[in-house]
């Protein structure tokens, strides 16, 4: 596998992280070395092996369907960059 600079730009777009040309070159070099290390996995035969997503292989526990949370909107919005009347403010998305 070899990553191109275009791959880096595409991933950065998917990840919603702006990177400039100089940063992209550095990221490209470092990701290439990381993926060279990761490519050691290619040689391993994993046919018939069940993927392990979790240390305990547990099923998600279910709780009773009842309200346990109190209204803490004011507390949580205190740390927001911009709010108004209990709403989060973002740039206009619909003209």
């Amino acid at each position: 596998m070899s990553l191109t600079l275009q791959d880096i730009e595409r991933i950065a777009w998917l990840a919603r992280i702006e990177i400039d040309a100089r940063e992209a070159a550095d990221v490209h070099a470092k990701l290439t070395s990381i993926f060279t290390m990761i490519d050691a996995l290619d040689a391993i035969d994993t046919s018939g092996i069940e993927p392990m997503s979790h240390a305990q292989d547990m099923t998600t526990p279910l709780r009773d369907d009842r309200v346990t949370e109190s209204d803490r909107r004011a507390d949580f919005q205190r740390v927001a960059p911009a709010t108004e009347d209990g709403l989060y403010l973002v740039p206009r998305v619909i003209e």
Partner: protein, 498 residues
Amino acid sequence: MAAHEDTIAGLAAALAARKLSSVEVTTATLDRIERAQQSLNAFVTIDRDGALAQAKAADAARARGDAGALAGVPIAHKDVLMTAGLTTTCGSRMLAKFVAPYDAFVVERLRRAGTVLVGKTNMDEFAMGSSNETSYFGTVKNPWNTAMVPGGSSGGSAAAVAARLVPGSTGTDTGGSIRQPAALTGICGLKPTYGVCSRYGLIAFASSLDTPGPFARTAEDCALMLNAMAGHDPRDSTSLDRPAEDYTREIAKPASGKPLAGLRIGLPREYFGDGLDAEVAAAIDAALATFRALGATTVDIELPAVKLSVPVYYVIAPAEASSNLSRFDGVRYGHRAAQYDGLADMYRRSRAEGFGAEVKRRILVGTYVLSHGYYDAYYLKAQKVRRLIADDFRRAFAQCDVMMGATTPGVAFPFGAKSADPVAMYLNDIFTIAGNLTGTPAISIPCGFTRAGLPIGLQIQGDYFSEARILDVAHRFQQASDWHARAPRDCAASEPRR
């Protein structure tokens, strides 16, 4: 003995006997933390007023006779753990001004046990790093030699305990972030079984691996901390609902001449190969001789898939991180760029400005391995190899009770030595990562020093839920050695009077 030289067990006993008050201990602790801050930079936040209020409350509880087990003992929390009303930065510009609206489960539990929270410790940004060089708030220095890294990501918590600023602290371990800094600073750090300590309020890095745990100078103190930290929490769906344990129960049993008789120590061939520093190898051999003298036997074992744990980890952890860190978008909390052109641009610039280089790299790696067309080749493949590593561990624990080896291939290294080469940095965690991938518990304890005076860590790994046994094995070693009692030159000594 000055209070700052005492252990958690010793301080708790002295406080219970009313030989000293928590206000006295806490005041002295805060003074030492402030004096050491310039040389070590172990703390991001020091909460003098809050700590003194908690100390007064602990003393009042003692006077009333309803104090918790650790009432009045000052501790520090890694700044990845949410602390209500106190800044919780995760070592990042992204959260530099974030005041947590609630306590993490382990913070809440340690408060309930009566501990006094004196401050939040510095760390690698979002717990991604092995040297504390990725923190937005500057590097933490190793108390044994301030030209050296303290390890990471919980470097501030480790340095604070090693420098005798606090007797105990919390950390989180995703690939070695408790055990590796414990090794590099000459203290004990325990990563419990995944699910024993709730992740509620731990700012997520890689959710299937993140594990809170304690730092202290002795195994006994780690057991006392874990007694307070462990427990079921329905707010974390991976928190295990098990009967409460007393993690000091084995330690509390009287010692015989051969306290570890019958203990089978597995020595994985892969932990003793090329790349292990010769001085580290010699210290591990000497420690094994001590264990044999205590009655244990050793058995050679093999963990053939463990060499793949670094590549597996650098697929799984970034994949989970890219998902977890998508929540930092400049809308609900965290940094928002001052200038942007529309919503998508606001996300991109806020994240570009808020995250440091290593965090961005891992998000990008994770985004790639989860992206269309690559998921099976990377993410699914890594999950399958993760299973092979867990199978190795299962077979190993049929042959032995614990496994031992060096916590890290080398000792503390100079600042900048590995920061330009991410893969060289990642290989620091080659012996610790498998514990996270499998979810099994492990402790790092000090077992010697290099000729240059840098600490060496021994890792003791056990099967699921064997914390009490691992802690006892570590404790018996500490009864027969004094590595854990060695202290660095005091970084917080009072300034000479003018």
